[in-house]
Symmetry: D2
Subunit: 289 residues, 4 copies
């Protein structure tokens, strides 16, 4: 019938349009078929292996970070995270050690031959960060801080971009586009849970975001199991799901003494729990050899 | 300090209260430590093996269901789903074949020696269903249809209870409690995605619901990958995540000719896709031997 | 340019389609231009006046309902609500007095010459309800209990249909369509807040649902300020907004002694608060004379 | 009973704690009972009168803004909004005229003797903005851009802070606390709709946020009817609700020729619609005389 034909034309038109739009993005797999591999001090994120990125929520002292670095190193890991600038809901919460924190991270990176990842929250700190850290993290609350994205796009340093608290995947990809369109294609995406009505977990891990992002973009995708669940008892299960669905890596928070942590004390693993975490998950992680 | 002591007391009190409340539920693992195993014609759901439940969205004809049953049988599966009563958003959409559909399912079950699962939508149909099907499904839209839950609790037939579109896990467990409190403990829970702001998928698969439900209750938990994603390209990745995180089984929709399906045509697999689905996933499924 | 023309055609096509679809619904204003007026014992809901519907969450005793009825009557109100069948999250919570509750409501209606509204939760109780109550309420949890909707559509008694906890407006209108398509056009819609991530209120009152529903359907629309806010301190402000935006009426819960109420004790007004509520709001309510 | 007493203590403790926490905030009404009045070129926002703030989404040219300013002036309005820095989802969308836009706004403000409000998106632009605009707007996407909040707190210029896309009211108040804790108490809050599952409107206007914010803080609260609804046909109804519930003012977008607007073309009013808007709403707005 005529109506049917009309609907088909309509559908085709709709798909064409959407197709066109996505094709335009530089992060799109339509623009570049092969996976982008982000080289972080020799760790080739996106190469098919599945990596672990661990570390304390916030850098509190050299000793604290060193304890985690040592444990991570023993487990053969090379990627360390730690917050120097902490975006906190309340102005009265611990805001991080700032540049001092970056210096501690740098010292750790040198002494342990590891790569460090740390969040930068202000465009003017991007340049400063170049001297201290190996990966610039842009946090969930800043995913649409477009000035920060532009600044991160203008340097030649890998960027770990976290999905916003209630960002759609389309918005997430467009945020990455802000970075790549300025010339920096060393971008790692990170799913960290979205805000929903459910309160059994801190956020709701949107696990199928991983295959969607892998399919629609050429960028590597990590899963932050700490922020997505907010529960220590769910870190291992969530990580298993993330590895199985094809994430390029897992992020998790580790603190030598979570009870006294200055932030996120309830959800960080201690060293023993971390060792357990790795020993359960490593056999499940793909190794591209 | 005094304030600190006070806070500790406060916290302890809070935990005690919550603890007490959960302990009271019959579905709680605090009430019963061992896993409940639901025996469906010899398939022991909850026994540690991971099962597949497949079938068309709606029963349309004997031939249609038989085609799926045959394919499922060849793959060694024994659990078949198919809707006879279809709760549809619009009154003008296909509402299912009703009792006629149940009869088709019964005939298929007998001929192929399979077990059939079908949704019942009205308390007065629960008794009728006993003669035709092996598992009574209560759908997402009826998760808080308490009269239906009570009716399902009053019979001795396994019940597959789907999580409501925007039900919290606490509400979900309380819905199961309606059934068990009437004496029927043969309950299978099913995570099928929740409603969020994100539209890349039909719903957002709440993957960590699986370990939470397994931990807080003694009931088996399935994951419906069709309704949670609404996208054929995500069925295999979602199922991998569900198997890895410890689901007791996977539900998925299969139709011999999805293009002409009377409902959910976009998201059902055809037989070839189904064979691909099983061959990719079976090696990942645990078998309790 | 060609592309522009193409887009225009595309847009027009999209609008045509959507238009067509909505036109098809019997609840649509495209099908019937004039407002539907639901006559409840002489109160003509939808006639331009703004009505108040008050009463206890649950019917607990004759005395309890009579106390509210008396206060309402004194304020010149004629519409009384009260739950006899209570859908509760937990099976161990008070489930209502059932038929006994309906009988109490009937007695009150007769003695005070008021009209009573009560929720029915099971299709087989619809017929029973005809003898006792003036308006059949279908609650939020049953908005997509299609068997119940069909049963309510088959009788000739006004129906008050509440929006589901996370129902889209489109689903809400389709739920009403289930009723009207069976021949019963005496439908009152009720916005009662939707489930969101925000917890400052029990639900989030979707205030613009009112003008949307008034524009897209010909049915009267009430706003339940009690369930949408869950906070006594917000009942008056929410009701002011609802009156200003053009709701056909306001629903609110009143209990002679909320502290001892068997359900919703925190959010029901006592008689004094109710009198305050009415005296602040009545001057703002439109009266169609 | 013992249990009851225990629960009471527990509850009291909980309330005490929450109370304490809120009391600590400088934005809290517990800290300051009287309304904060923000004086913007003589318009005293928060004084009990209800103000209108209108203007184009983005500053495109002197002529465009002048056309709106002239119309607003004729209606007796004094507060003009217009975006010079536009945070846009895609990097390929119009990003605003930047400083050039601020200069246009300044010229308009001088010529028409109006006050201008414009969004600043980067901490380093805060100082620049002081020379050109009367109110610094911090947009929804930057509500938790804490560096920007700190910068805005360090100057002596009124700040209009919009609620984040999925910010809780508690997060919103804490964001304001970042500003006030740096010494700037000239803060205007703005509810602009939250992200929910519903798509009938661009966002869901959380209307009861207004009385909650007015009750918990001493700051004035505006409602942005354009962004909360995203629909021209809902601007007047939404504004009526906002005025009725006690908002200190209404924000809305006006463009001399919305069809050719470089952003938000679908939701801006033209001059004629704006005149209609004001003539319907002005009689409803409170005037503190």
């Amino acid at each position: 019938t005529l109506q049917h034909i009309f609907k088909e034309i309509f559908k085709a038109a709709l798909e064409l349009q959407e197709d066109d739009h996505r094709k335009a993005l530089l992060v799109s797999r339509k623009k570049k078929k092969e996976n982008t591999i982000v080289d972080v001090k020799g760790e080739k994120i996106g190469d098919g292996s599945q990596y672990f990125v661990v570390g304390p929520c916030a850098v509190e002292s050299y000793e604290q970070v060193a304890a985690v670095a040592e444990a991570a190193k023993k487990q053969g890991l090379k990627l360390l995270r730690g917050g120097a600038f902490k975006p906190r809901t309340s102005p009265y919460d611990f805001q991080g050690l700032g540049i001092e924190g970056l210096k501690i991270l740098k010292r750790i990176a040198d002494e342990f031959d590891m790569a460090v990842i740390s969040e930068i929250v202000s465009p003017q700190d991007i340049d400063v960060a170049l001297d201290y850290i190996d990966v610039i993290q842009i946090g969930a609350r800043n995913m649409q801080n477009f000035e920060l994205l532009k600044a991160a796009g203008s340097v030649r340093k890998p960027v770990l971009l976290k999905r916003g608290l209630s960002a759609t995947l389309s918005e997430f990809m467009n945020a990455a586009e802000y970075i790549i369109s300025r010339g920096n294609d060393q971008i790692i995406l990170c799913e960290r849970g979205i805000r929903t009505y459910e309160r059994a977990t801190r956020n709701t891990l949107d696990i199928t975001a991983v295959p969607i992002l892998k399919q629609e973009t050429h960028l590597p995708v990590l899963v932050d199991v700490t922020h997505s669940t907010g529960r220590k008892d769910l870190l291992i299960p969530a990580a298993k799901a993330a590895l199985a669905i094809g994430a390029d890596g897992i992020m998790a928070e580790v603190h030598p003494d979570p009870e006294v942590a200055l932030s996120d004390s309830a959800q960080q693993m201690n060293i023993e729990q971390f060792n357990q975490f790795i020993s359960e998950l490593r056999p499940l992680a793909k190794v591209n050899a």
